[in-house]
């Protein structure tokens, strides 16, 4: 009788170890996967910008400063730590706003089909970055909760599951970007 109980207890402990460990691995992979979603969008943004700059250049030759701002910030999108890249993205977002505002004073540019579709593509990419950021933070939160709750935290400590950081946004950028169509 006692042997059965001992075996059962050991089995329960072993199962607990396996489930907790696998659970943590699953969550950690979700965190990575959700960051790669942001990554895809940042890359897409990076690729769209030269086209936009070229289109705008033809119409608004005098706005070199605004354009070079965008080009400078563009490089930050594909290198650096996650937080740095998000910051580059925030900069671009500000600079793009002024490009779209600038189009108001160039009626030809505003009516340009190419410009309009680029504007739509950039707007949707921005939304996707925002939404995947939201998803990333949610996934990180779930992972951290799992990692820190008892008794899973014992396993997490044993195998060195690290805490993941949430992506933060500077206070001024909290508002949803309003791009007019």
């Amino acid at each position: 009788m006692t042997t059965i109980i001992v075996i059962a207890v050991i089995a329960i402990i072993v199962l607990f170890f396996i489930f907790s460990y696998n659970g943590l691995v699953k969550y950690r992979n979700w965190v990575q996967e959700s960051f790669s979603q942001i990554d895809v969008q940042l890359k897409r943004r990076h690729d769209l910008i030269p086209n936009l700059v070229e289109t705008v250049k033809g119409y608004a030759r005098h706005e070199k400063e605004t354009l070079s701002q965008v080009v400078e910030a563009r490089n930050g999108l594909i290198s650096g730590t996650p937080q740095q890249r998000i910051e580059a993205d925030n900069q671009i977002e500000g600079a793009l706003k002024s490009i779209f505002a600038l189009a108001e004073s160039y009626p030809d540019l505003k009516a340009n089909q190419n410009f309009l579709s680029l504007q739509e593509e950039l707007a949707t990419t921005e939304n996707k970055v925002a939404y995947s950021r939201q998803l990333y933070n949610k996934t990180v939160k779930d992972y951290n909760i799992k990692r820190e709750s008892f008794p899973t935290n014992l396993i997490a400590g044993m195998f060195g599951f690290k805490r993941e950081e949430l992506l933060t946004v500077p206070e001024a950028d909290r508002e949803v970007p309003k791009v007019t169509f």
Binding site: Q37, S117, E120, E121, A123, T124, N127, K128, Y131, S132, Q134, L135, V176, F181
Partner: protein, 297 residues
């Protein structure tokens, strides 16, 4: 909260399936009783119908619902902005990209269907796409995504299909009863029992109504929740408020709306009849109270 909801919906789908199966078997018995070929034969025939009907329903419900509403699939080149919006929200909702359908109708409305999130479809009316701006379309899409993510669409699509089969069998039973059918041969038979007769008759008349009530109740409860989870996705209650206001200002109603599929739409597709209170027959909670709840968020 969300995962509980999903588990609850899967459980409800199962309970519903069992309930409907029992109802179909009961009607089979009742019809068999009237035909006079014996109640057991009726049950067996109903069981055979179910054996074919349920798998076929699972495989074809989405196509049926889309077909009934007159929706056609569109490609990205037909409406790039709409595709972008749906793509954005599929990222936010963490659901695979659904297929996009358009119903040519001036009345603004939308619905989602499918048996699983990875084979789902969202249909918009052309009226909705014309009248709503980007944020409002996004809000409506997010509402549909919550239905997809919560497995509401499976529950609702299945409901529609099962109500359909019950109505058909009950209708057969009613015809047989009113024509007199084979029942007369049986009347002299000592097996005929007046109490069973009444039970069978009541069953044939009430079962389709009961089935419809279940469908409507299921649908009404889902809408508030889908509104709330839409806000969780877009973080923009104003967008959904504006969208619902625009949708509710339409008085025409959808040309192609069927009683069966009415509960799938984001708002009642039959236009606005003066009814303000929620009633037993309503497919949707009143839009005013949906907007009130959103304003309180």
């Amino acid at each position: 909260m969300l995962y509980q909801q999903i588990a609850q919906n899967k459980r409800k789908t199962f309970v519903l399936l069992v309930f409907f199966c029992l109802l179909v078997l009961a009607i089979g018995w009742a019809v068999g009783y009237f035909v006079g070929s014996g109640s057991l034969a009726g049950i067996v025939i109903a069981a055979v119908i179910l054996c074919f009907y349920i798998p076929v329903t699972f495989a074809s419900a989405k196509t049926q619902v889309l077909g009934m509403s007159g929706a056609h699939e569109i490609q990205k080149s037909d409406n790039p902005m709409l595709f972008n919006i749906v793509e954005e929200l599929s990222v936010a909702a963490n659901v695979p990209m659904p297929k996009i359908y358009v119903v040519n109708d001036d009345s603004p409305n939308a619905f989602a269907t499918g048996m699983k999130p990875d084979s789902s479809a969202i249909a918009f009316t052309s009226g909705l796409l014309e009248r709503l701006n980007r944020e409002e379309i996004a809000a409506v899409t997010a509402h549909e995504f919550s239905h997809i993510r919560n497995y509401d669409i499976r529950l609702m699509t299945l409901c529609i299909a099962l109500v359909g089969v019950i109505v058909i069998i009950a209708d057969m039973g009613q015809r047989i009863f009113f024509w007199g059918g084979g029942r007369n041969n049986k009347r002299d038979n000592d097996k005929s029992n007046p109490i069973l007769m009444i039970v069978a008759l009541v069953l044939i008349i009430l079962a389709p109504i009961a089935a419809q009530f279940v469908q409507l109740a299921v649908s009404r409860n889902r809408e508030y929740l889908a509104d709330a989870s839409a806000i969780e996705i877009t973080r923009d209650p104003q967008g959904l408020i504006n969208a619902l206001t625009k949708i509710s200002s339409d008085s025409e109603g959808l040309k192609n709306a069927k009683q069966a599929t009415a509960s799938m739409y984001i708002a009642n597709p039959f236009g606005r009849k003066k009814k303000k209170q929620s009633s037993w027959f309503a497919t949707h909670p009143p839009i005013e109270s949906r907007i009130e709840r959103l304003k309180a968020m």
